[in-house]
């Protein structure tokens, strides 16, 4: 009767380098700085192009999801600039539903992305990037839960004028996928692919400063969380307040749309697990490893 109790670990994501894994890898390390130019007033102009369209995304090995994407990935591209830059995002709606981009941050209300952009139409959002820290962007067309859950979101990083300390940087968006449209997620992930960084641990160096830009776009669940094993990190909520004392902890939680910056140093070589501390989310895909060498 009891020999079934001592069973090995329940899920092995395998070694196959799938389309979904490639997407998760790309989002982890790719930052889009835009097309940079100087304006006559001396300000830096960063031009971005974002197209929305319907794309099939692989969200776990072999599982396809009919996503709505910005530039073909879930989450969309990580836009990056420096405080005071003028950012200009030309948004083209190549999908069959109206969409928009609503940016978090301080900007004129007519650039807030509340007006739907019709299929085939374009609109350019232009504003000065502030405050520094971590912002997010997402579609703001109703019904909101549907438009966001389908995949129309991403991170916007505004670096302070005085650069942060040099670090190995990663971008992470916590997300979930509701496959049967019952208002509950069946798959949880970071950067759109379940168990991506368990299958392929994120390589870091012992003693090196690691900085993670983390946001939560999990729809249907109130909060999501980040827990690191065998180590602690500093957490800067939104990273916008230079006076704020960071939290020194191994677990933080974020409500939907909340975000922050984690700074970690790994003290010794080894495999450091990280995952949502909601066990259910972890076992449904939100689980990974840092490999410190």
């Amino acid at each position: 009767m009891d020999n079934h109790m001592g069973m090995q670990h329940g899920y092995d994501p395998g070694t196959e380098v799938t389309k979904g894994l490639k997407m998760a890898r790309k989002i982890l390390t790719e930052f889009d700085y835009g097309k940079v130019s100087k304006r006559s007033d001396g300000k830096t102009l960063r031009e971005f192009e974002i197209v929305s369209y319907e794309t099939e995304i692989e969200i776990a090995r072999g599982v396809k999801f009919p996503g709505w994407t910005f530039n073909g990935t879930i989450p969309g591209p990580t836009l990056r600039c420096t405080e005071g830059d003028i950012i200009s995002v030309k948004f083209t709606n190549g999908a069959s539903h109206p969409h928009s981009i609503h940016f978090h941050g301080i900007h004129p209300t007519n650039m807030d992305g509340l007006d739907p952009i019709m299929p085939g139409q374009s609109f350019t959002y232009e504003f000065e990037a502030k405050p520094h820290g971590m912002q997010v962007y997402h579609c703001h067309v109703f019904p909101l839960a549907r438009h966001i859950h389908k995949g129309l979101y991403g991170n916007l990083i505004i670096d302070p004028k005085k650069p942060r300390a040099k670090a190995k940087e990663f971008n992470m968006v916590m997300n979930g996928f509701d496959l049967d449209l019952d208002g509950e997620n069946e798959v949880y992930a970071v950067n759109g692919y379940a168990f991506a960084y368990q299958q392929e641990p994120i390589k870091v160096k012992v003693g090196e400063l690691v900085r993670i830009y983390l946001s939560n776009f999990t729809e249907f669940d109130l909060i999501n969380s980040f827990h690191l094993h065998a180590n602690y990190f500093h957490y800067y909520a939104t990273g916008s307040d230079p006076e704020a004392r960071p939290q020194y902890t191994d677990t933080i939680m974020q409500c939907q749309g909340e975000r922050g910056i984690l700074e970690i140093t790994f003290p010794a070589p080894g495999r450091y697990m990280f995952h949502a501390h909601q066990s259910e989310f972890a076992e449904l895909g939100w689980m990974g490893f840092f490999l410190a060498e």
């Binding site: 009767m1 079934h4 069973m7 329940g10 599982v63 496959l179 259910e280 076992e283 449904l284």
Partner: protein, 403 residues
């Protein structure tokens, strides 16, 4: 009408070949039309928006190593299973023969999972198209393996449920023998009441099981077809027999055998329910079913004995009647416990219901004919009371099963 008759008698003089040709023309035209529709469609755009996939979880066997899940693709397209979740957790699984199932193909999924005795578990399959199919384990316990011991235990359960109560019921026979014709009619009406309840009950059980039948096999249809066809088949057999033997009235013994057969089929269904309950680990439910059915079935013995009241049956007749009515319970327990299959069970329940219905028909005819020849009213208060009492008694004892 007259014209048709003339035509039917009209024998054309020309070749037989031409005659066959006339028969073939509609068939050829039909083939043409079907081919056209298949090639060019109906003109209505009918591309499905979402992928159509239907995966049936047919049986979950629980072993020391985890779950063995039998799945069946009853949808129109091939299905590829990408991931398996157990209790909201991704889990390793291996497939025999493969994780991809062609139309109407079966596969067994082996999931090494540390299940917990007595807990419910949920197994989800995610296909490559992101569709979910779920199988439930209501109460986890190791699935009984087909051993001689379990085989005998199941036989014993079937014995308790089928043979014992029917025999006990028949022990009322000497008591009932002292009844007058009117009294006998009341007892027969009482039997009709019992059987009426059983028909309803059997059909309902059939529909319940039909809900688990893969869509393509039309579970509830099977119950209806089984019912109508078995009813008509038994009547046809009856009529054929009557023409050969006594043309007027059925002998009581024959009615008793029919009763025993119908009730036997019903008891097969009860056995199925009990066996299936034990097989899926619901031992408590199984035990309740055993107690309930046992009490319930005592009345069946009374019913079977009723038509014999004016005859001189031998002990052998009683024994064989008990065997006919009771042993199918043993058979049912085995089938339910070891090879439970909802599709076949739905059909069995339908057949059982049809058989009981035919018995009702026979007994009613018997009461009617005797009442006519004796100038009694058919629905006398006595008969009505008997019928009501029959239904009521079944209803009350059924609480023990459904409770």
């Amino acid at each position: 009408m007259a014209q048709i008759q003339t035509n039917a008698n009209y024998q054309p003089k020309d070749s037989k070949l031409k005659w066959i040709g006339f028969g073939l023309i509609p068939i050829i035209l039909l083939i043409c039309i079907v081919t056209l529709i298949a090639l060019f469609g109906t003109g209505i755009k009918n591309e499905s928006v979402a992928p159509i996939e239907i995966l049936n979880v047919e049986k979950i066997t629980i072993t020391d190593a985890g779950f063995e899940v039998k799945i069946f693709n009853s949808g129109p397209e091939q299905i590829e299973i990408a991931q398996v979740l157990v209790d909201d957790s991704f889990w390793n699984a291996s497939f025999d023969p493969a994780s991809s199932l062609d139309r109407f193909e079966n596969a067994t999924v082996y999931i090494p999972y540390p299940w917990v005795e007595g807990d419910p578990h949920e197994i989800k399959f995610i296909t490559t198209n992101g569709l979910l199919f779920t199988g439930e384990v209501e109460v986890a316990t190791k699935t009984p393996v087909l051993t001689t011991n379990v085989f005998l235990q199941y036989a014993l359960i079937g014995f308790y449920v089928g043979i014992v109560p029917v025999s006990l019921g028949m022990l009322w026979y000497p008591f009932m023998r002292r009844f007058s014709t009117r009294g006998i009619h009341a007892v027969l009406a009482f039997t009709v009441g019992l059987l009426f309840f059983l028909v309803i009950d059997t059909v309902e059980e059939g529909f319940e099981i039909a809900a688990e039948v893969p869509g393509v096999f039309q579970g509830s249809g099977l119950v209806w077809f089984g019912l109508v066809l078995s009813f008509l088949f038994l009547i046809a057999v009856d009529q054929a027999n009557q023409r050969k033997t006594n043309p007027h009235i059925d002998s009581g013994k024959r009615v008793s055998y029919k009763l025993a057969t119908g009730i036997g089929l019903h008891n097969l269904g009860e056995g199925l329910a009990i066996g299936a309950a034990f097989a899926v680990g619901e031992a408590a439910l199984g035990t309740f079913l055993v107690i309930g059915f046992t009490l319930h079935n005592i009345t069946e013995g009374v019913g079977i004995a009723a038509p014999l009241l004016r005859e001189r049956p031998t002990f052998k007749t009683f024994v064989s009647l008990v065997a006919v009515a009771g042993t199918p319970a043993i058979l049912g327990t085995w089938i339910g416990g070891f090879i439970f299959n909802p599709t076949l069970s739905a059909l069995f329940f339908g057949i059982g219901a049809g058989a009981i219905l035919q018995v009702i028909f026979v007994i009613c005819k018997m009461i009617w004919k005797e009442s006519q020849s004796n100038k009694y009213p058919l629905v006398s208060w006595l008969n009505f009371s008997g019928l009501t009492l029959g239904i009521l008694l079944m209803y009350v004892t059924a609480f023990l099963v459904k409770f």
